[in-house]
């Protein structure tokens, strides 16, 4: 999985993002929650968009990029099994 740095326009301080690519294809956009309004969630990574099985109506927050990678891998594995 590849993580490419990208700035995301969220109209907030949350702009440090990553394009997440799997086998060269975009599967997710994640953003670090830097806006103080997030309170205890600040500093964690949030799934902003997911594609082809990585979409979720209630995704978890990720403590770091490794945690995000593990979760995204699981979604992709689940998709293949279906």
């Amino acid at each position: 999985m590849e993580f490419r740095e990208i700035k995301v326009a969220t109209d907030s301080a949350d702009e440090e993002g990553r394009l997440v690519l799997h086998e060269g294809r975009l599967v997710a956009v994640i953003v670090r929650l830097d806006d103080p309004s997030h309170g205890p969630a600040k500093g964690q990574w949030s799934l902003e968009a997911g594609f082809n099985g990585v979409e979720s109506t209630k995704p978890p927050l990720f403590a770091n990029l490794q945690a995000a990678e593990r979760w995204i891998e699981l979604q992709i594995a689940d998709r293949i099994r279906v």
């Binding site: 109209d11 907030s12 806006d35 997030h38 109506t57 209630k58």
Partner: protein, 245 residues
């Protein structure tokens, strides 16, 4: 204890004094519930009708993976499960969001109330409005952007709470967490937080903890695409200038 129910029903249909007295006698003092208590669990049978006298609650459905969708808010004066005794089991659950006081009416009570034409009409109205709110929420979730969705819910709460004397003309106490708002409008807590932030930055709401103040109610309603006619309150039907807020 019946003030909220009278406020709610009379906002929909006028009631003669005899009907008001009967309702007052039937409602009684109710019983207290703690925040988080179930009013009726999903899948349970209920042979009584629950009415909220004080406090706030919500209707919900739970998915197999534990996710929850909030499908309605219950505020003072709301009948939670009118005619629910007809069902074998409830298709959704109802829970107390805050400490509540609720009363339980039997089928006989409901028959007594509905044998009186004005009360029957008021209760029919209230069920029509429940269905109308659900339709509006469906539109809200399916077709409005996150900040408009959240703004619409805030407008609805303002108007519904005004009718039962729990909101001023431009402020109320929001008894919902961001997670619960998210479960209501199908957004993540992060998105709800950003939506509220957007409303604050635009000056459409002022928020201090749970207190929501709306500097320009007309502006928020316009932003939210909020038309109160789906709530069918008499003051909007009659277009009289003042409500009972």
């Amino acid at each position: 204890m019946s003030a909220a129910i009278l406020g709610k029903l009379e906002a929909l249909h006028p009631l003669p004094d005899d009907d008001r007295a009967l309702l007052h006698a039937v409602v009684g003092r109710g019983r207290p519930l703690k925040a988080g208590d179930d009013i009726v669990r999903e899948g349970e049978r209920t042979d009584v009708v629950h009415v909220i006298l004080e406090g706030h609650g919500y209707r919900y459905k739970t998915l197999a993976d534990g996710k929850r969708q909030i499908i309605g808010y219950l505020v003072p004066g709301d009948f939670c499960d009118l005619y629910g005794f007809l069902l074998d089991r409830m298709d959704h659950g109802m829970a107390a969001r805050t400490a509540c006081r609720i009363t339980e009416l039997s089928e006989e009570h409901i028959l007594m109330l509905t044998s009186r034409p004005a009360l029957a009409r008021a209760l029919w109205w209230s069920e029509l409005v429940n269905a109308s709110i659900l339709r509006e929420w469906l539109v809200n979730m399916g077709r409005r952007t996150p900040s408009v969705r959240v703004a619409h819910i805030l407008c609805e709460l303002l108007v519904r709470l005004q009718v039962v004397g729990e909101a001023t003309s431009d402020s109320f106490r929001l008894e919902l967490s961001q997670a619960e708002l998210g479960d209501t409008v199908g957004l993540t807590t992060v998105s709800v937080n950003r939506a509220l932030q957007k409303l604050r930055n635009a000056g459409l709401i002022l928020q201090t903890n749970r207190e929501i103040a709306i500097p320009d109610v007309t502006a928020l309603k316009a932003f939210a695409d909020f038309d109160p006619s789906y709530l069918h309150f008499r003051k909007d039907r009659d277009e009289s200038p003042e409500g009972r807020a």
